[in-house]
Symmetry: C2
Subunit: 197 residues, 2 copies
């Protein structure tokens, strides 16, 4: 298997599509789309997002000290992309442009996007200052899931959630075919355990 070396890069496959919403004023909020992020801790639950210092949302994220992370489905690709390519300076009401409803959170001041099937309310837990961006670690204080994406046992049905996937070759994708069950399929390779008897 011949490999091509491309030097330092950020081309991780896959990435999430995170709509980060932060309060920017009385009854005003901005939405920014972030693919540079992921789970950063479990106790407390942390989501990390890397946000450019010169983005419109950045001073509000630092000042307000909280934000929501909203997971769009694959039919919200136009809106997700719009929130990533247009600055809040040019469009101070992206929610309206996108036809999104900003609904109050339960534990923080920044609102959530009602139409997104999953929403995480996050309190700013830690901020790391890197060249050109901040890595914000948000503590997840509440999680909202659209009841329509749950089965009768309250479990998330992947095809109903239908989360929008971002790939660093510039593609939005759907989640694809089921491959196997995690924490299970790998047992095939486990060596037989010696019985204590």
């Amino acid at each position: 298997m011949a490999k091509k070396l491309i030097g330092p890069s950020t081309r991780l496959f896959p990435m999430p599509t995170l709509l980060v919403c932060v309060k920017t004023g009385e009854n005003a909020a901005n939405i920014i789309t972030i693919a540079w992020g992921g789970i950063a801790g479990g106790s407390p639950p942390l989501i990390g997002i890397a946000v450019g210092k010169n983005h419109f949302s950045t001073p509000y994220l630092r000042k307000e000290g909280n934000f929501t992370i909203n997971i769009p489905n694959s039919r919200q690709d136009v809106e997700a992309d719009y929130c990533g390519i247009v600055s809040g300076t040019r469009d101070p009401d992206k929610a309206k442009t996108c036809g999104f409803t900003l609904a109050p959170s339960t534990k923080i001041t920044s609102p959530l996007i009602a139409e997104c099937p999953m929403n995480f309310e996050c309190k700013l837990y830690k901020e790391l200052d890197f060249k050109g961006l901040y890595l914000f670690l948000g503590e997840v204080v509440e999680t909202h899931i659209d009841e329509a994406v749950l089965d009768e046992h309250g479990r998330i049905v992947t095809e109903k959630l239908d989360p929008l996937v971002f790939l660093p070759n510039g593609e939005y994708r759907k989640i694809g075919d089921f491959v196997s069950k995690a924490f299970s399929v790998g047992r095939k390779l486990s060596k037989p355990q010696v019985s204590p008897d």
Copy 2:
């Protein structure tokens, strides 16, 4: 859209499947599977991984100060799952069990997994100490891509790369249908610009 509140959680959709490989001795290395991670910075390129303090790999990651992140394809699901559910204490040569070839990196001491279509060589850039885990931020110093997943222009073809996706409802998935082009499809919502003329 009625929402169910489930409290603080880490149920982000989607997550990557990262095979983290670290040198553990002369001609020895361990592989651990991590879904809690993502891009954490761009200059330098950083990948964050959250690793439990009591994992076999953890002291080696701290001592060696480098690791590789290897992206498995969807046919490597059994191996990826195995490396996540079996400790290096029980199997000190998971690469052999998985049929993986450990190949030398170009800039760090930890080896990479030759059979994985993408590999990132990372130097430990920063370590954050959280309850129960460390968040390791790795600076990507080199990226390897299997030439077989590139098109004639050197671009990554998603279906050829075929990265394994982890979902927190316990499923491994493939990447699915193309939805739209990022940094492009959102222009549909842009308001017409006033011409300066």
